[in-house]
Symmetry: C2
Subunit: 274 residues, 2 copies
């Protein structure tokens, strides 16, 4: 793991101790799959970052500089995860944001995730609920205590991921992935207008699979014909079990994974290796 | 302004770039008024920090070490604000918290806030709403994008603070203070079980003024006989105006300020100077 820190156009030695990231989680992040030195979905990641920056009125660093620095960081490590955090610049005490200040940003390189469980993921329900906050929903901001608490609910390594509901009881996502269900031959994923994150892989899947976007109840999920999770780091992850409910491998999931393999070369390789 | 950073018992040079504070706002903070070298409400601040740590299952640093380091930081600056941030330790990518890791903590010293507007504060209503999240309500955690966005709604220096409502429309607090209203001779402040922060000065005022804790509507606030804001940095701040509504100085607010002056020496001095 390696981290590079910048303020505006300048490389700096360390994250400012008075930074707004530390104080308030006042920032955005993207986690990108790097395959043979390239971020295949980089336009989609940058577009979501821009959408978040508009919402938070956050200044972004120069995209060309970010990409050049990322290329240097990835040199010799062409298959990795690349994480970019962008925080609002200028410190001090108090909530008032200084919109004109240069952003603080961090690039880091991480190992690829371990291959997912053969036969499909084992899930649980999280007790931690997602609050309904339309102002912050959809974007990938750094206020993630809900996810931290949800992920902290289990240590059992037999459990791969946890599904989260909102405070109204609707199913929204897993702690670090979006969720899709197959019912009557049609894929559906929950909306992210009140909570949850508009995942880059989710956006691909909605288009490619002609998926519907609709509220999802616990009963609808548990009675679905097939379920998968997805994110930009790991692609499509079939779900095999949730508590007492189990799903056999389903052709529609295999089809979705093949389509993703056609669309994104990193997931073609992982399909071949699975 | 000066910052000292620690991991567990050891002083370090900088905030870790892979820290969970930066990535997720996975931490707690306290802002304390230092008067003649002493934090008068230090037990109450530490108790709230402990309550937050229990909720987030966060390890705290050794209190004696924190206080000794704070004393050294405040040497020669006996009247200041002292801020303590405690973040969950151990970095890496992914939400799973490592509960056993030493916490990362930051002590910083700040100038006292400027004296508040003579005649009372001028307030506005914020458009940004507080989401209902009982799991995080009351504690002073570092997921503060709602407050940052609310405080970012105005730049007009004629406005001192903004009042925030929750997503159900109830009045909760100001961006950086609790709120009390006088109706029929009785003080009331909103509950903080669904959102908002259980302020240290709020707790003092609830007891000292025998205040009720009850949901507060916009209409109830605007028709109140008197309104004040309070926090541990600035004490009790009378409110003079909110949009078209104005309040004349009220004896009950002056009484409350005198009681606070009796209870906390920092606010005795500021009362004398006002």
């Amino acid at each position: 793991m390696r981290h590079l820190v910048y303020i505006g156009d300048a490389r700096v030695d360390a994250v400012p101790a008075d930074g707004r990231g530390v104080a308030y989680g006042d920032g955005l992040f993207e986690t990108m799959r790097v395959h043979r030195g390239a971020v295949h979905w980089r336009d989609a990641h940058w577009a979501r970052l821009e959408a978040g920056a508009r919402r938070l009125r956050l200044a972004l660093p120069d995209r060309r500089l970010v990409e050049a620095q990322a290329d240097a960081l990835l040199h010799g490590k062409p298959d990795a995860l690349l994480k970019l955090i962008v925080m609002r610049g200028a410190g001090g005490r108090g909530y008032a944001p200084a919109s004109a200040a240069d952003p603080v940003w961090i690039l880091s390189r991480h190992a690829l995730p371990a291959p997912s469980r053969a036969g499909g993921l084992v899930l649980r329900w999280c007790d931690t609920r997602l609050a309904l906050q339309p102002m912050l929903a959809g974007i990938k901001h750094c206020n993630r205590l809900e996810q931290v608490m949800a992920r902290g609910e289990w240590q059992d390594e037999a459990i791969d991921e946890g599904l989260m509901r909102d405070t109204d009881g609707n199913v929204v996502c897993a702690t670090a992935a979006n969720v899709f269900v197959l019912r009557d031959g049609k894929w559906t994923t929950p909306p992210v207008e009140h909570c949850g994150i508009a995942g880059v892989c989710r956006a691909w899947a909605v288009t490619a699979l002609e998926a519907g976007i609709a509220p999802l109840s616990v009963a609808q999920l548990e009675s679905a014909d097939a379920v998968f999770l997805c994110n930009a780091a790991r692609g499509i992850l079939p779900v095999a079990r949730l508590g007492a409910r189990s799903w056999l491998p389903h052709r529609a999931v295999a089809d979705a994974m093949r389509r993703l393999a056609d669309a994104h070369p990193a997931f073609a390789d992982s399909l071949e290796n699975s």
